[in-house]
């Protein structure tokens, strides 16, 4: 989706403000929003790409006025409703009356405290062992596809229809554009592609500067 999450190359968004000695969280509710999002992720009811895709659906008029963990909260509320785990009506009712009771959900199991250290220390398994032939080789010149899907994609707008060079073959990974749109793993090679700054931004960019972007086979064509 050509949404406001895809900000690479936008201008006029204000100064970059670095807070010295910034803590991990600024408010108690941020801690809780962070933790329930991670814990609920281990229910196995959605993948990381679906989670990102859901956050991207926040209405554009609200995007820049929404803080980071509010965006996480929005995504979690939408995923839980979509999976039938916590319905919007249940949240509305509990918000009105904290004593309203709800039935336990038996088909999934909560992440247990004793398992937290192990699961947080285990990387997500987006990389796969599937035997998939690479369509490009290190050193190849490639052209990124010009696409404008209404769903989830990890091909940023500023890199579409651009020429670059493959610098690394990262092996076979699940395809985020497929996973995020509920279409399954579609495993394929991911490459690091170098784009010259002038290819992306024109002649005013520095001749030797470059942007490196990790892209899947389906994003690329031979140049």
């Amino acid at each position: 989706m050509n949404g406001l999450h895809d900000v690479g190359g936008m201008q006029g968004l204000g100064p970059i403000v670095i807070e010295p000695d910034e803590p991990p969280f600024h408010h108690g509710w941020e801690r809780r929003a962070f933790a329930i999002t991670l814990a609920a992720g281990y229910l196995g009811e959605w993948n990381i790409d679906q989670s990102r895709a859901m956050r991207e659906r926040l209405p554009a008029t609200e995007y820049f006025a929404t803080s980071y963990y509010e965006l996480w909260l929005y995504g979690l509320e939408r995923l839980l409703d979509a999976r039938g785990l916590v319905l919007d009506e249940e949240r509305a009712a509990r918000g009105q009356d904290p004593t309203v009771s709800v039935a336990r959900v038996d088909r999934v199991h909560a992440l247990a405290a004793r398992d937290v250290e192990r699961v947080l220390g285990t990387a997500r398994a987006s990389r796969t062992d599937d035997d998939v032939e690479p369509r490009h080789r290190v050193g190849d010149r490639v052209l990124t596809r010009t696409i404008n899907p209404v769903g989830h994609t990890r091909l940023p707008r500023y890199t579409r229809g651009k020429r670059g060079q493959v610098t690394v073959d990262h092996g076979v990974w699940t395809f985020a554009d497929s996973m995020g749109n509920d279409l399954g793993p579609d495993p394929q090679h991911v490459y690091c592609v170098r784009f010259e700054a002038r290819e992306l931004w024109g002649d005013e960019a520095r001749p030797r500067d470059a942007v490196y972007v990790d892209l899947w086979d389906d994003h690329l064509e031979p140049a």
Binding site: H26, F34, L85
Partner: protein, 217 residues
């Protein structure tokens, strides 16, 4: 922890010690409502939530990355391993995390300056740097890092000479990037632990250079 000081209650939106005179904000209410429903439905466990928060507040953070950088500065063999396979080299230190399936470490040199960003969301190498700071997740940084990296670096006090190539790394897949900053001159006599104390989070993202302590060299 003083119960009469809500500013220091880590769970001030859900705990019993909150200042009851202050109304909950809309977002606090939303979080409290959702957490209570998740707990009552058996979908999350409160002790697990506390363990998750504790992990990222006290155990996983940029000191992990700083230790790796200092080791790479003093141990050429480790430096080689780190640059060849960042994931394995970080795992030697016990630094592995759900967010960091493949770690690539980028070496800053007099010829090349590296800068890390995620233009689409907030991808960040949690295993070695912990949770990302607000500025890294903000639209101003994410938008400008790719189109005007030199302007960003100038503004943040880490300006790069004209003859040095700037490489920006946009974290669009599940590969995570960390910068190995240059070791400052005048630190030859410092121990590995002292060096680790010099390394800042921002230098490992590529928006700062590591400074030698005053009087060094």
């Amino acid at each position: 922890m003083p119960q009469d000081d809500p500013d220091h209650d880590p769970d001030d939106d859900v705990g019993a010690h909150r200042d009851h005179d202050a109304p909950l904000s809309e977002v606090e209410l939303r979080v409290r409502t959702l957490e209570s429903l998740l707990v009552d439905k058996g979908l999350v466990d409160r002790d697990a939530l506390d363990a998750i928060i504790d992990t990222y507040e006290t155990r996983v953070g940029p000191r992990n990355g700083a230790r790796i950088v200092a080791r790479a500065w003093v141990d050429p063999n480790f430096r080689r391993r780190l640059l060849a396979d960042g994931t394995a080299a970080a795992a030697e230190h016990g630094y592995e995390d759900r967010q960091t399936e493949k770690l690539v470490v980028l070496e800053n040199t007099p010829q090349v300056h590296n800068l890390v960003v995620c233009t689409l969301c907030s991808c960040y190498p949690w295993a070695v740097l912990g949770l990302p700071p607000i500025w890294y997740k903000s639209a101003p940084y994410r938008s400008r890092a790719v189109i005007d990296p030199r302007g960003v670096l100038d503004e943040l006090g880490a300006g790069v000479p004209d003859d040095r190539e700037v490489r920006v790394w946009d974290s669009t897949a599940e590969i995570r990037y960390m910068v190995l900053p240059e070791r400052p001159a005048g630190t030859e006599a410092m121990s590995e632990a002292e060096l680790a104390d010099l390394v800042t989070r921002d230098s490992m993202i590529g928006v700062a250079v590591v400074q030698a302590p005053e009087g060094a060299g």
